[in-house]
C-alpha cells in the first residue's frame, strides 16, 4: 500500500487536532493503520501548527507531505516548503497557490450560518480526497460529539457532506488516492496514554506532579479516570511533588511522579533522597529541548546524561527509554518492579514526540498484569531494622505504619535501625557498599539492545528511546540502496548491560541531541569507538530521511 503523509495545518485553536483525530479514527475504522503526531508552538491561539498523519507507512514521522489540508492561507504558505513533489494542496490556499481551493470559513458562514462548521467541511474534504467512506466518517463524528444536541450534530453531518461534494466536483481522477481498506482493528494510543494504564496495572496508587509540558497528560489521565484507582495530587511545585510521592511510597503505596527537564532539575535533591532512604519511586522524565525553558512544546533527547547523573552522591538507579506504546506498557511495569526490587528511583525517559504521537498497534489485552508486592511480611521479624545489612544489599522493606514494627527512614547516613550515625569506620563503608551492591546486581538484569538487520552489517546505527521506528525505516532505506547497515536500539540505557560489541564495524550514533550523549556513554562504559554521530536538535523528531542524509551526506541526494 502507498505510504502517504498528510499534514493538516493551521493556527492553534483552529481545530487541526479535532479534524486530524476524526480522520485518523475513520482511517482506523476502515482497517487502515495510521500514525499521527503533532508539532505546535507554545501558545494557545495562532501560529503555525500541524497535525500529521502517516498512512500505511512505518510508525515514524515524515517531515514532507503528500497532502496538505490548510485551514488558513498563512499556514498554507508556511508549510508549502514541506510539500513532496506530487503534493496535493487542499483548502484555504495561499495567494496564487495551486491545488483544490475550498474556502472553508466562507462556506461555513454562508451555508451554515457559523464559521464553527468549517472543521467538519474540512474533515469531509480530506476524507473524500482519501476515498474514505462517508458513512464511517459520519459515525466517528457522531461518536466523538455525542454530547452535542441533535440539531448541531445534523448540521455537522451536513457540513461533512458539503466537504465531500467540494472535492468530488473538481477532483481530477489522477489526484484521487485509493486506500485499501481491511477488516483489521488497531489500538490507537500514545506512550503517555499508555503509561498511566500500565502504572495502574502495576499497582501504582499515588501520583503527585506539577504541570509541565510535555509531561502533564500523565497526571491529568489519572485525574480523568477514577477507575484507575490512583490518587492524584497537583503539587505546588516539583519539589513538593516528588517528596509527596516518596512519603506515600514509604508509607506503602506504589508511587510515581512525572515532569520535564526543568522540573526534574528541581527534583534532583529528592532523587538522591530516594537513593539514600532506599524508597521505590518511578519518575517519568518527558524530554523537551533545553537549556532552561528551551522549546517547551518541541521534542529532544537531551536529558539522558542528566537522568543518569542528576542527584548528589552515589546510589543505584535505572533509566529506561520506551519507544512506542506497546513497549511502554511493559517497560512501565518493569520500572515499578525494578523500583521495588532494588528500593530505588527508576526513571522512564520519554519526550514530546512520545507524548503526542499516536501509534496503530495490533490490539493487545491489558488483562492480568501484576507486579509482585515489594513489602516484606512483618510477622517474619522478631525485631526489625529498616537498613539491615544483607548479602545482596537489599534490606527487607516494611512501610511506615504497616505493623507494630517501627520503621525509621533517614536521609542522613544511618545505622541498620535507621538512626543518624557518624561511625566512619564501620557503618559508613558498610552502607555505601550495601547501596552499591544493589547497583552491581541491577546491572546483571539490564536488557540487551534490540538488534535489527545486523547480520553482515558494516555500519551499525546505535539509538535509544523514541527513535526506534525511524531508525528501522532508515536501515531499510539504506539496505535498498545496497548499504550493509543494521541497528542496535537500546531501551535500557542505564545501567548498561554487560556486552562486548564486535569490532570491524563502524558504529554511528543516532540521537535527538547535538553532542551524542549516548555515544559518549558507550565510549566511557565499553570503550566502543564511535565512527560518527547523527544528531537532530531542531526540536523535531528524528525521521528516516534525515538519518540517511546524516550518514551519507551529499551522497544521499544521488540517484539510486
Amino acid at each position: 500500500m502507498k505510504d502517504l503523509s498528510i499534514f493538516i495545518v493551521g493556527a492553534a485553536g483552529e481545530g487541526i487536532q479535532t479534524i486530524g483525530n476524526v480522520v485518523a479514527r475513520a482511517l482506523l475504522q476502515s482497517g487502515i493503520s495510521v500514525f499521527t503526531f503533532k508539532e505546535y508552538e507554545s501558545r494557545i491561539r495562532g501560529g503555525n501548527n500541524s497535525y500529521r498523519l502517516r498512512v500505511s507507512g512505518s510508525n515514524a514521522p515524515r517531515h514532507d507531505a503528500d497532502v496538505i489540508l490548510a485551514l488558513n492561507s498563512t499556514a498554507a504558505a508556511h508549510y508549502q516548503q514541506t510539500a513532496s513533489s506530487n503534493c496535493l494542496m487542499l483548502g484555504e490556499l495561499s495567494p496564487g497557490g495551486e491545488g483544490i481551493a475550498i474556502p472553508f470559513q466562507t462556506i461555513a458562514k454562508e451555508q451554515f450560518g457559523s464559521p464553527l462548521y468549517a472543521n467538519s467541511i474540512a474533515a469531509g474534504a480530506l476524507a473524500a480526497t482519501l476515498g474514505l467512506s462517508q458513512e464511517i466518517l459520519e459515525n466517528v463524528l457522531r461518536k466523538r460529539f455525542a454530547k452535542l444536541n441533535e440539531a448541531v450534530l445534523q448540521q455537522n453531518v451536513a457540513a461533512i457532506r458539503m466537504g465531500y461534494e467540494k472535492v468530488s466536483d473538481p477532483l481530477d481522477a489522477s489526484q484521487a488516492i485509493s486506500l485499501e481498506t481491511t477488516d483489521r482493528t488497531h489500538t490507537f494510543a500514545s506512550v503517555h496514554e499508555i503509561i498511566p494504564l500500565a502504572a495502574a496495572a502495576a499497582g501504582c496508587r499515588f501520583m503527585a506532579a506539577y504541570p509541565m509540558s510535555p509531561s502533564t497528560g500523565i497526571m491529568t489521565a489519572f485525574a480523568k479516570d477514577p477507575e484507575l484507582g490512583v490518587f492524584v495530587e497537583q503539587a505546588e511545585d516539583e519539589i513538593a511533588a516528588i517528596n509527596m510521592s516518596l512519603g506515600a511510597s514509604a508509607a506503602g503505596a506504589r508511587a510515581m511522579t512525572a515532569t520535564s527537564g526543568g522540573g526534574f532539575a528541581l527534583m534532583t535533591e529528592a532523587v538522591s533522597l530516594a537513593g539514600m532512604t532506599e524508597t521505590p519511586l518511578v519518575i517519568v522524565l518527558a524530554q523537551r529541548p533545553g537549556p532552561a525553558t528551551g522549546l517547551p512544546t518541541r521534542t529532544a533527547q537531551e536529558d539522558l546524561t542528566f537522568a543518569i547523573l542528576g542527584g548528589h552522591g552515589e546510589f543505584p538507579r535505572a533509566v529506561l527509554a520506551p519507544s512506542n506504546p506497546q513497549d511502554a506498557f511493559h517497560v512501565t511495569l518493569r520500572a515499578f518492579a525494578l523500583a521495588d526490587r532494588y528500593q530505588m528511583p527508576v526513571i522512564l525517559l520519554t519526550d514530546q514526540f512520545l507524548a503526542d504521537a499516536h501509534f496503530s498497534l495490533p490490539d493487545f489485552a491489558i488483562s492480568e498484569y501484576a507486579v509482585p508486592g515489594g513489602l516484606a511480611d512483618p510477622a517474619s521479624f522478631k525485631t526489625y531494622q529498616r537498613y539491615a545489612i544483607t548479602e545482596n544489599g537489599v534490606s527487607p522493606r516494611l512501610a511506615l505504619g504497616q505493623s507494630e514494627h517501627l520503621v525509621v527512614i533517614d536521609s542522613d547516613e544511618h545505622t541498620e535501625e535507621g538512626h543518624i550515625t557518624e561511625d566512619l569506620e564501620t557503618l559508613r563503608p558498610a552502607m555505601v557498599e550495601k547501596r552499591l551492591e544493589k547497583a552491581r546486581r541491577l546491572k546483571q538484569e539490564m536488557a540487551m539492545p534490540d538488534a535489527y538487520r545486523t547480520e553482515g552489517a558494516e555500519i551499525v546505527l546505535i539509538s535509544w528511546g523514541s527513535s526506534r521506528s525511524a531508525v528501522r525505516e532508515a536501515v531499510d532505506l539504506l539496505r535498498t540502496r545496497g548499504r550493509e547497515v543494521g541497528s542496535l536500539h537500546f531501551t535500557d540505557v542505564w545501567p548498561l548491560p554487560q556486552l562486548t560489541l564486535p569490532d570491524r564495524v563502524a558504529y554511528w550514533t543516532v540521537e535527538g541531541n547535538a553532542t551524542g550523549q549516548f555515544g559518549e556513554l558507550l565510549q566511557a562504559e565499553w570503550g566502543t569507538p564511535i565512527t560518527g554521530k547523527i544528531g537532530r536538535y531542531d526540536g523535531m523528531p528524528l525521521d528516516a530521511v534525515s538519518i540517511v542524509s546524516g550518514l551519507l551526506g551529499d551522497e544521499s541526494e544521488a540517484p539510486t
Partner: protein
C-alpha cells in the same frame, strides 16, 4: 494515658545540655501519651537541623527527609495511610525558610497533620545565622562563632 518511658528511643541524643528542644520533646511525648497513641501508631516527619533530629529521640515511625521538605513528605504519608498519626516536627529555618511554600499550600490543602515549628529564630547547626522569624536589624548573638 501511656507513660513517657514508652517513647524512649534507642538513638543517642546529640543536643547540647539545656537545649530548648528537650522541652518540646517532653511536651510531645506527654501529648502522645495523653492521646493513648502507641509508638507504631505514630509517624514523626522532619527535615534537617537540630529540631529535625527530634523524631530520632522519640520511639515512633520516622521519616527524616530533606531540609524544608517535611510537609510534602508528611502529606504523602498521611494520604497513603490516614490511620497513622502524622506529625511534622522541624525548625523555623526548615519550615518557614527552605520549605515556606509548602507551609503556605498546606494551609490551603488543610490535611489532618500536625506541624510543630521549633522557632528559635536562628540556624543553630550552622552556627547562629538569622532565620525567617528573626526581628529587624538585631545583632547576631554574641555566642555565635561563624
Amino acid at each position: 494515658m501511656i507513660p513517657m518511658e514508652r517513647y524512649r528511643s534507642t538513638a543517642e541524643n546529640q543536643w547540647c545540655p539545656g537545649c530548648p528542644n528537650f522541652g518540646i520533646q517532653t511536651a510531645l511525648k506527654r501529648a502522645l501519651g495523653s492521646l493513648d497513641l502507641e509508638p507504631h501508631q505514630i509517624c514523626l516527619v522532619s527535615g534537617i537541623g537540630q529540631a529535625a533530629k527530634t523524631p530520632h529521640y522519640i520511639a515512633a515511625n520516622v521519616f527524616n527527609g530533606l531540609h524544608g521538605r517535611s510537609i510534602p513528605a508528611a502529606i504523602g504519608i498521611h494520604t497513603a495511610n490516614p490511620g497513622l498519626k502524622t506529625i511534622v516536627t522541624s525548625g523555623d529555618g526548615c519550615i518557614y525558610g527552605e520549605g515556606g511554600n509548602h507551609l503556605l499550600h498546606a494551609f490551603r490543602r488543610n490535611p489532618n497533620i500536625t506541624v510543630i515549628v521549633h522557632d528559635n529564630q536562628i540556624y543553630a547547626l550552622t552556627k547562629g545565622q538569622g532565620s525567617p522569624p528573626r526581628g529587624e536589624a538585631k545583632k547576631r548573638d554574641s555566642n555565635s562563632t561563624a
